[in-house]
Symmetry: C2
Subunit: 228 residues, 2 copies
């Protein structure tokens, strides 16, 4: 009898933006897999800790390598670890910042689970995404009526999105600041843009003169919202 | 001394997907404005009721008219009602399905508040969006790495989005089924599409043969997710 792996979205950072369902699962489940990045503070840990105890937490390293095959090997290993626990009949959570289906750490492991351990039963528990949390912090209506929204990582095709969509949310801006600013300049949309980082955290920061971020130290989760 | 109006996102329908912050505010705030649509059951009411009492609920009608000026007049009236309560020093919530900044009822009132009652202090409390709840229900990874996501209402420019984005979430499909199916056919992406409605509700429905929805009765909140 296999257990269930719950992929739990923890929300964008404010611990109060965890869902009631996420809170319940963290209280109840016997094993909680916690992805750990070495480059930055564990936001996930801060959100999880009030509802669980150290004995149920199992940290999995997601330190990124420049070699894709090393990353894949690590994710495959984590998937095997999870399959062993859940396949043995225990329920478990895999927690992830934001929402599990949108640019999350979980997706790396999920791909390996589907490929190598398809018998593991997975339930996805959505969370509040940084996309709308950033908009909330900056009081920006992303879309109403017929308007469309594009969500793009800074390392993706930003220019095309900014040129063709009224509203664009550009994520992880620190990874490609120059490309983002160039896209805003070329399309004439610098004036439509606002920079938001750590939305809803005590040290939240909103920059309306987006040009100025070029010379600033930026948080890993910083985003630019472009809107008319 | 003005109070604060909290725009509270209630999430996509499952009452457990309300955030802890939303739950706290519903328990604490003396006035809770509840938008009411006559065409469909009040999902919002079901999510709100466990945490509040009838005496604190104030229903506002959002019955839509075909005349835009009648709708605007109603929204202006609601904004005045809210401004009176909050301007008088009371805190209040305005609850809304999904997230307040993305295709929500709140945005209608927010526009009128900004235009006519800029003194009202507003705080936005984000919620889980149906965009990621639908993806969770259907086990669809919306985007990882450099992939981009477009979110489009069915009555918007669907064809362009489907032609240029790997991942597209088309909302409120029932409003324009023929246009959505045509866009999927013309772009050759019918096979990439899945239809999801009432994600995470007891009567959730997922349709993998999307062509067949043309002749089905569809829920107001149905969505099509297109992905590679």
């Amino acid at each position: 009898m296999s257990g269930t792996l719950y992929a739990v979205g923890l929300g964008p950072g404010d611990p109060e933006l965890l869902t009631i369902k996420g809170q319940r699962l963290l209280r109840e489940l016997p094993v909680i897999f916690l992805p750990a990045q070495e480059e930055r503070d564990s936001l996930a840990r801060k959100i999880v800790e009030p509802w669980t105890d150290a004995a149920r937490l199992r940290e999995l390293s997601f330190k990124m390598s420049k070699k894709p095959e090393e990353n894949r090997a690590r994710w495959r290993e984590h998937a095997a670890t999870i399959a062993q626990v859940v396949g043995g009949g225990q329920d478990a959570a895999f927690v992830t910042e934001g929402d599990p289906m949108l640019y999350s750490t979980f997706l790396h492991v999920y791909g390996q689970l589907l490929a190598n351990h398809p018998e593991v039963h997975v339930e996805i528990v959505p969370g509040v995404s940084s996309v709308t949390a950033g908009a909330a912090a900056a009081h920006i209506a992303l879309a109403d009526e017929r308007r469309r929204v594009a969500v793009v990582p800074a390392t993706g095709e930003v220019m095309h999105a900014v040129a063709t969509f009224d509203t664009v949310v550009i994520l992880k801006v620190s990874a490609a600041v120059d490309a983002v600013l160039k896209a805003l300049n070329v399309t004439g949309r610098m004036g439509d843009a606002i920079y938001v980082e750590r939305a809803g955290w005590p040290n939240q920061r909103i920059v309306r003169e987006v040009e100025t971020i070029r010379k600033q130290k930026l948080d890993y989760f910083g985003q630019v919202i472009v809107t008319r």
